[in-house]
């Protein structure tokens, strides 16, 4: 009898891109901001990042292997991404247990309880941050200035604006390079943009959500500040906007997958974030804007899907 060959449905070739390649690219893209965070906030920042990543990976392993009794997929780097992002959203003064609890919550509740990778309806790191913020508000807002600044107390630029503190605002240069108070990974705009450029270059994220998000914040802030070009630009570089727009709002499973939906999603994030910043009770609105839009994402997706080829123009 002649030998029989393997058969399968076409196509018979696949692209080289895999889940772990994508997630590893995100980790690589987060490295500049990691270095900046450790540079400005010192050893405590490094310890928190490592603890957060370790806790996220361990939680993923335990939940998948012992609770869901399936193959653990920690090799796909996705838990590492969540761990890094959570640490990035926490001040360097936070106690060690805070990040451990936070990343365990992100993985176990927000990600695995809903079905694991691709099934979370909110960004796990941001949902965990919101939980920590509600549970331990003091620990979550204990800012210090960077190692390079003269003063010890280090209110964030957003705090200075929001609470009308009588402290001089850091210079534009400082907010761009990241020499200001804030969460570990959010302060250095330069470092975040280098990582973002890498992700866009590698085709991991598209520019649509970040551009719509940041553009909307800029335009609204321009109106809210009474057409103050300097302040509306300054507003883009403070707080977690850059980190949120490029690394959190672009989370695949909690944002729309079609181009039109992504733009609507980004605009929505921009509106909510700016309104909270200027008129809300919190000085910062980035994380809540993304979480709220995450929840709206399925609805946006449903109504923004494009017409089919040869179908009636919408």
């Amino acid at each position: 009898m002649e030998s029989l060959f393997r058969v399968s449905s076409s196509p018979h070739i696949r692209s080289k891109q895999t889940v772990s390649n994508i997630m590893r690219d995100v980790v690589i893209a987060l490295l500049p901001a990691t270095f900046a965070g450790v540079y400005y906030f010192g050893l405590p920042a490094l310890v928190l990042i490592l603890l957060s990543v370790g806790s996220a990976v361990a939680t993923e392993f335990i939940v998948q292997k012992y609770l869901r009794k399936q193959k653990a997929t920690i090799k796909d780097w996705s838990a590492v991404v969540t761990g890094m992002l959570l640490a990035f959203n926490i001040p360097s003064t936070a106690p060690w247990w805070l990040v451990v609890v936070g990343s365990a919550f992100a993985i176990a509740i927000v990600k695995q309880a809903f079905g694991g990778l691709g099934h979370n309806f909110m960004n796990p790191a941001l949902a965990a941050r919101a939980m920590l913020m509600a549970s331990w508000p003091v620990e979550m807002t204990n800012w210090v200035s960077t190692r390079l600044a003269d003063s010890v107390a280090g209110p964030t630029p957003l705090g200075i604006i929001g609470e009308k503190l009588s402290v001089a605002l850091p210079s534009m240069t400082d907010v761009i390079i990241g020499n200001v108070g804030g969460c570990i990974g959010e302060t250095s705009v330069v470092a975040i943009l280098i990582g973002a450029a890498y992700l866009i270059y590698r085709g991991v994220i598209s520019i649509r959500i970040p551009a719509a998000y940041i553009g909307t914040v800029f335009i609204l802030a321009f109106f809210f500040t009474g057409f103050d070009l300097y302040m509306s630009t300054y507003n883009l570089f403070i707080g977690g906007l850059m980190l949120g727009a490029f690394f959190m709002a672009t989370d695949y499973s909690s944002s729309p997958s079609n181009p039109k939906g992504q733009i609507i999603f980004g605009i929505g994030c921009g509106v909510i974030a700016t309104v909270i910043r200027f008129y809300g009770g919190y000085p910062e609105g980035v994380s809540y804007s993304i979480i709220l839009m995450n929840v709206a994402s399925p609805l946006i997706e449903k109504y923004s899907s494009s017409r089919v080829f040869g179908g009636a123009k919408k």
């Binding site: 060959f5 393997r6 449905s9 076409s10 196509p11 018979h12 181009p259 040869g310």
Partner: protein, 440 residues
């Protein structure tokens, strides 16, 4: 001139380097040919010869049984050994097995039909029909059916597909390079049959030499425009090609004729030229034999009905352990579990993968990355159609326009989670169509 294209699509590795510079060689005459009665879309043919009959090259051995059907002819002269059910690609079919006498005597019916100028469009259509000409790009749709649109459909353009967007394949490339005049002649015949003013030949820009030779051959015919297409898969898909050339969209659930166009492959066009000039029906074609597991990749002119194993042996045989045998290209070709099947009018490629390439990747969770959405040339959301199909919710799959899928496989190709997107969408399409039939 700027390159024409469509929206969406992917860039798989071309892999044409194995054979693109190799001139077409004539295969050794087969001692036995197995002529399948099912080489086209539509009703299978009825064998009209019986065991012991002597047949000649170009003699009809299977007659068309309905309008959507196409006759088949002998590719050798010799004696009919048996008329029986045999293994063909994708199952069994009635076949006429002919033992060649090596003489290649040509049948009396094979006589030149003169030139296009002396033929009416009806006569040309009849020649095409009787010569058993079908779409040679892979689908095998009977060409005369395409050329007989209902009177209310106004056709104003004919497009020849010379894109050859499938990786690995170079058969059309070599054809355009080596016999450009035949391709152009066939297009002129199509233009006359359909009584249109405009013909396009679309060629991807990774074949600049073919573009040059075809342009040269077509330059004295103002009604023919040779256009360069951006190299992107699936550039040669009918609807995408029509859009690239004319910026018209074939309506959803419609046919090319609904956009006023008829699309034909360049190889089909050359076969039409041959049928008019020499009277020889479609009994041989160019095929690319390639891949990592064949010793010497080649472009060959093979007779319809030649055993696939024999063709591969003429390329030095297999190299190492074979994983997969694909008839056609890697994106849309069909995998065959055996090499003991005959070639047909639509065998454009024989692609042989090694074990490593044949591995089927393990599917991971859908990331919802949206890559399949951004590249789908039909503007669908493959991830959702597939998700519903896998849950047996075919009504939802239908709502997500599963039937608009052209099965190009781009979604499965780009998916980082290696999910069986097209496979599951195909299942959904079958279920939806079956349900529609039932409810009628």
């Amino acid at each position: 001139m700027s390159l024409l294209s469509f929206k969406g699509g992917i860039h798989p590795p071309h892999e044409k380097k194995y054979t693109e510079k190799k001139a077409v060689v004539k295969a050794v005459d087969p001692k036995v040919v197995t002529i399948s009665m099912r080489q086209h879309i539509g009703a299978p043919c009825n064998p009209i010869v019986k065991k012991g009959d002597y047949v000649k090259v170009g003699q009809m051995v299977g007659e068309a049984t309905s309008f959507v059907s196409s006759p088949v002819h002998s590719s050798v002269s010799g004696t009919v050994k048996e008329v029986t059910n045999k293994n063909v690609l994708g199952g069994k079919a009635m076949c006429v097995v002919i033992e060649s006498d090596g003489e290649n005597l040509i049948h009396e019916t094979v006589v030149s039909n003169g030139d296009i100028s002396g033929l009416s469009s009806k006569e040309i259509l009849e020649i095409i029909k009787n010569a058993g000409i079908v779409g040679m790009g892979g689908a095998g749709f009977p060409t005369h059916v395409k050329l007989s649109p209902p009177p209310e459909k106004k056709i104003d353009v004919v497009i020849l597909n010379g894109a050859e967007c499938e990786p690995y394949l170079t058969a059309d490339h070599r054809l355009m390079l080596e016999t450009p005049a035949e391709v152009v002649y066939g297009l002129r015949a199509l233009i006359k049959v359909l009584n249109v003013q405009k013909g396009y030949i679309g060629i991807e820009n990774n074949k600049p030499d073919a573009f040059k030779s075809i342009s040269e051959a077509a330059k004295e015919y103002p009604e023919i425009e040779v256009v360069e297409l951006y190299t992107k898969y699936p550039q040669g898909a009918e609807k995408q090609l029509i859009y690239a050339c004319t910026k018209r969209e074939v309506p959803s659930a419609g046919l090319p004729m609904d956009a006023g166009a008829v699309v034909s492959n360049v190889a089909t066009s050359a076969a039409i030229a041959n049928a008019i000039k020499t009277g020889m029906p479609l009994v041989e074609r160019i095929c690319t034999i390639t891949g990592s597991s064949v010793v010497e990749p080649k472009n060959m002119l093979i007779k319809v009905g030649t055993n696939i194993k024999e063709i591969i042996d003429q390329c030095g045989g297999y190299k190492g352990k074979v994983g997969k045998l694909i008839m056609g290209g890697p994106m849309m070709g069909l995998a065959s579990n055996t090499d003991n099947i005959p070639s047909t009018k639509t065998t454009s490629g024989i692609l042989i993968f090694n074990e490593d390439e044949a591995k089927i990747p393990e599917a991971e969770n859908c990331l919802k990355c949206g890559k399949c959405v951004s590249i789908c040339p039909s503007f669908l959301e493959p991830l959702y159609i597939s998700a519903y199909a896998l849950k047996n919710d075919f009504e939802k799959a239908e709502k997500y326009n599963a039937l608009d899928c052209i099965e190009c496989g781009s979604c499965s190709f780009v998916c980082p989670s290696k999910r069986p997107l097209l496979h599951s969408i195909r299942v959904a399409k079958k279920e939806i169509i079956a349900k529609r039939r039932k409810s009628k």
